[in-house]
Symmetry: C2
Subunit: 169 residues, 2 copies
C-alpha cells in the first residue's frame, strides 16, 4: 500500500531551557531545519506563552513543521508532515543541535494509506478546469507529469487566504 503523506513525530529531551523559551531563536532554528530538509518555506507563525514556552509552525510546500516547547522540562515536541521528497531526518538533526538536545526519539506514521476498497484518484477536477484526474501519474503522487518544478513537491499556488490575521473569537 502507498501512503499519501508521512508524519514524523519527534521528542527532544534534555534541551537547553533558555533556547526553548526564545521564540525568535526557535523560529530561526525551525526555518533552518525546514531548509536543511530541502523544503520550501511558505509562511511561519510563532508565539510565546506566559510565563514560558513557545509554539510555532513553519508551513512548507504541501506540509508543515510544528514545535511546542516546555522550557521548564527541557522538552520540545516537533512534528513534520510531508508529502514530498524532503529529508525529514536532516530537519530533526538540525533541531537536535540547535536545541542542544540530550536525547531525541522519533517515530514515523503513514498518513492516508491507499489500497483500501474503492480508494484511488477519483473523477475530481478542480473548479474551472477540464483537466481530468487521469493525468495524475499514479496513486501516491499527486503531481501531473511535467508540471513538477521540484522533486515530489506540489507548488503553492500563492493563494494565502488569511495570512497575518489574528483572531480571538
Amino acid at each position: 500500500m502507498n501512503s499519501l503523506g508521512r508524519h514524523i513525530l519527534a521528542e527532544f529531551h534534555e534541551c537547553d531551557p533558555a533556547m526553548l523559551n526564545d521564540p525568535a531563536a526557535i523560529e530561526q532554528a525551525m526555518k533552518e531545519a525546514a531548509e536543511a530538509s530541502g523544503a520550501t518555506i511558505v509562511q511561519s507563525v510563532f508565539h510565546m506563552f506566559s510565563p514560558y514556552g513557545v509554539s510555532g509552525v513553519v508551513v512548507v510546500a504541501e506540509s508543515h513543521l510544528a514545535v511546542h516547547t516546555w522550557p521548564e522540562y527541557g522538552f520540545a515536541a516537533v512534528d513534520y508532515f510531508t508529502c514530498g521528497e524532503v529529508d525529514a531526518g536532516a530537519a530533526i538533526r538540525c533541531l537536535e543541535e540547535r536545541f542542544a538536545a540530550g536525547r531525541v526519539t522519533s517515530r514515523e506514521i503513514e498518513r492516508g494509506l491507499l489500497g483500501v476498497s474503492g480508494e484511488g484518484p477519483g473523477a475530481f477536477a478542480s473548479p474551472g478546469s477540464e483537466e481530468p484526474a487521469g493525468v495524475l501519474t499514479g496513486p501516491g503522487n499527486r503531481e501531473p507529469a511535467g508540471v513538477l518544478t521540484g522533486p515530489g513537491n506540489r507548488e503553492p499556488a500563492g493563494v494565502l487566504t488569511g495570512p497575518g490575521n489574528r483572531e480571538k473569537t
Copy 2:
C-alpha cells in the same frame, strides 16, 4: 506517567472533493472545529496548491490544528496537538460533518511522556523573572496556580514574532 501533550491524528476518507479543494471553506471549517473544541484561535494560515489540494494550520492557544487535503482521493489528513482541556473529539466530529466524510479514523498519541529518569520541572526561570519553576502546580500542568484564565490553557502572550511574513528562501 503523565504526558505534556496529546496529539490526535485523524484520517477523513470519502469526503466531498469540491469541499477539499476550497481553501476558504476549509479554513472556515477548521476554525469552527477549533471553536467547537473550546480552543482559542491565535492565528491561521491556509494555502492551496496547483492543480488541487489545500494545506492549512489553525494555531490555537498552546497547540495547533492542521489539515492537508487530497481532493482527487477524497482524503484529508488532520492533526490536533493540544496541551489543554480542549475537546478534540468535538473538532473531529465538526470536520467529519463539514467534509461530508464517509469514514473517519483517528488515533491519539501522547507527547512528552514524563516519568523518565531525571525528568521533571527544572530550575528554569523565564528571562527577567525571579519566578522559580517550583510554582508549577505539578508535572503535566504548566500553569502556575492562580494565573489561569481558562481551564488548562496557557494564554498566548501576544508576541507573534513573524505573522504574515511570506518567505521563499
